[in-house]
Amino acid sequence: MRPWGSSHTPRDRLCAPSTADGESSVTVDKVTDADIPTVRVLDADGRFAPNPAAEEYLPLIEALPDGELEQLYRDMVAIRAIDTQATNLQRQGQLALWPPSRGQEAAQVGSARAARPQDTIFPSYREHAVTRIRGVDPVDIIKLMRGTSNGGWDPTDPRNGNTRIYTLVLGSQTLHATGLAMGLVFDGKCGSGDVDRDQAVMVYYGDGASSQGDVHEAMVFAASYQTPEVFFLQNNHWAISVPVSTQSRVPLVQRGTGYGIESIRVDGNDVLASWAVTRRALDEARTGRGPRAIEAVTYRMGAHTTSDDPTKYRGSDEEREWALRDPIARMRAYLEHRGAAGSFFADVESEAADAAEDLRVRTLELGSPTAEAIFDNVYSDPHPLMAEQKAWQAQYEASFQEGDR
């Protein structure tokens, strides 16, 4: 196996010329960790081998109890099983769409477990691990993808851990997160220095979304109002079919710096590094040190969504290469090195299989919304046109029943 530190990172492709047939070319301009520090704790074989950029995070990681380390692994395995189940459900015609999270488990689990209960999370639309960790029932995501709801869950319900609903218009949620974080500043809900009380906001987006103007404006506002906020960018290398090199000619981590936002790049397939970097960034942000940006370098191992066909735009070599950096295998190896029992892994697999089966059962049990749902919540206050059209629709439906008699 190629040593992790010199294998190709997103920067590798940035200067790579496209081949004549449009196939993505491989590494040309290798950039090492010395050029762009990337926090990494576990090597590709799962050995505890922190690189220099990771050193400052070691006290945080070393303080993690065994139970929490195991939980990180448990979360990743569970969400992969759930994600695989949902992908299958879509293939079987049960969902309109599913955006697989396969390959991004470490970035998502590490960052989500780093957030504190009082934090608010703004996902994009692939953060299945993040939402589940915060308390959202995966079947609520299914509701959106199956067409029984346009939202899925109630972010104001404490069971959902202050997790806002998915956003499909890319980058929009970065502004909502920044606005909410501005409100925390105005309300004095951050900046006291007490990490258990100060609130923070974390917003997820991707390398494709990073090109959206809203992300730019969100960073401008965040820097201007010094929001208690972490921008968590999962660079999974592909915006459907377009490589990250089309989105940016500099490493995306440098974007944040340009706004005056302290920015950190992390190996997004290393769950420990992802956890530590996010934990520190959130705590710095919440205690009044301003917004932070994280670029988690990861890889979308599956399709963009179930409507996508990656074989049309990327090579199998690349996919094989990234498969060797599977975040779950790495953490498993690490736990094995630490002496985790075989029964632990068997239990985790079994729990994950149960969760996936449970999701299938409950997906198939989901009913359809009734027609009133079209009209009832378009406005919060009474609205004459909604009342009129709802009444008309009801009498129209009723007219068929009368005809049957």
Partner: protein
């Protein structure tokens, strides 16, 4: 026995529309500490039309925010603030500058309550100075109301008098839904009486502003004063026009319009916006659906031409004036 509050009995003051808005904003901010203002140059400067003058001085920079110069950013962060329990009131500097925020308004703001099945409200007001007659450069005289009226989830209103400006801004801020608040900028300076004691009408009511018997004239915003001028000229020629101020563009209060049309049998709608797929189109269609047998003539529309707003030296040719309205009145009467 009804108690009369004598302290509010004689609280009628004469002021320009812009000052009435300022007073209404001030009142709303005093009444509810969660109301905050956001916009470009609305702080020390008081906005390019001075509508927010002295409000930052009196309420502080965390309640009157001079934001970065980015309209999508303003609306997008206002959404986040509303999620946090604030009631943001946004000033878009000019009509033509609302479009960078169009995505956040239409794909996000308008749909958030529905997407949350009613569990999240979006009490955000977006104030937009709009319309022509001020001789300004391009992108500063437009009438974008149709885009917003067409978008489910938004409410759209436009006051035409200082009294309505004072009350409707407060009612819009009190609304739990997003309100696009269109301020006819050619009406910012004329003065009118404001009754500080009580509002005359709810936010979404239309209103007969002149009684007449031959033709019903309907319009919104600055066009209401043009319709009143036309009605005065018509009267001199022996034609009695009733004038209805739409006030609310979404939802539309059809009651007073239909009552009037059933009485006159004729209707002309006038607007500064291009006529193709416009408020006037929608209202004409609805009046024909609901008052068909009362009509003596087709409902006619007088609109701006279906072109971009021309250079300002041509605005009096482009925008409907009393003569063009009277031409339509004559055509209606000829049926």
């Amino acid at each position: 026995m009804t108690t009369v509050d004598t302290t509010t009995e004689n609280r009628i003051e004469t002021m320009p529309f812009s000052k009435a808005l300022n007073a209404g904003l001030r009142k709303a901010m005093e009444d509810d500490p969660r109301v905050l203002l956001m916009g470009e140059d609305i702080g020390a400067l008081g906005g390019v039309f001075r509508v927010t003058e002295h409000l930052q001085r009196d309420f502080g920079p965390q309640r009157v925010l001079d934001t970065p110069l980015a309209e999508s950013g303003i609306v997008g962060t206002a959404i986040g603030l509303a999620m946090g329990g604030f009631r943001p009131v946004i000033e878009i500097q000019f009509d033509g500058f609302v479009f960078p925020a169009f995505d956040q308004i239409t794909t996000q703001l308008a749909k958030i309550t529905a997407r949350h099945e009613g569990r999240v409200s979006m009490p955000i007001v977006i104030r937009i100075p709009y319309g022509g007659h001020i001789g300004a450069v391009e992108h500063h005289q437009e009438s974008p109301e149709t885009y917003f009226a067409h978008t489910p989830g938004l409410r759209v209103v436009s006051p035409s008098t200082p009294n309505d400006a004072y009350w409707m801004i407060q009612e819009a801020i009190a609304s739990n839904d997003p309100v696009i608040f269109l301020e006819p900028k050619s009406r910012y300076w004329p003065k009118g009486e404001v009754d500080l004691a009580a509002p005359a009408l709810p936010l979404h009511a239309s209103r007969v502003v002149r009684r007449g018997s031959d033709v019903t004239l309907v319009g919104h915003g600055a066009m209401v004063s043009t319709l009143l001028q036309a009605a005065a000229l018509a009267e001199a020629e022996g034609t009695s026009c009733e004038v209805v101020d739409l006030r609310s563009l979404s939802p539309v209060d059809y009651g007073p319009i239909l009552d009037s049309v059933r009485s006159t049998g004729r209707m002309v709608y006038a607007q500064e916006a291009p006529g193709f797929v416009s408020l006037g189109s929608e209202i004409a269609a609805t009046v024909m659906e609901r008052a068909f047998y009362a009509l003596e003539a087709p409902v006619l529309r007088v609109s701006a031409y279906d072109t971009p707003f021309p250079p300002a030296k041509l605005e009096s040719t482009y925008l409907p004036d009393p003569d063009r309205i009277l031409e339509a009145v004559d055509r209606s009467l000829a049926y």
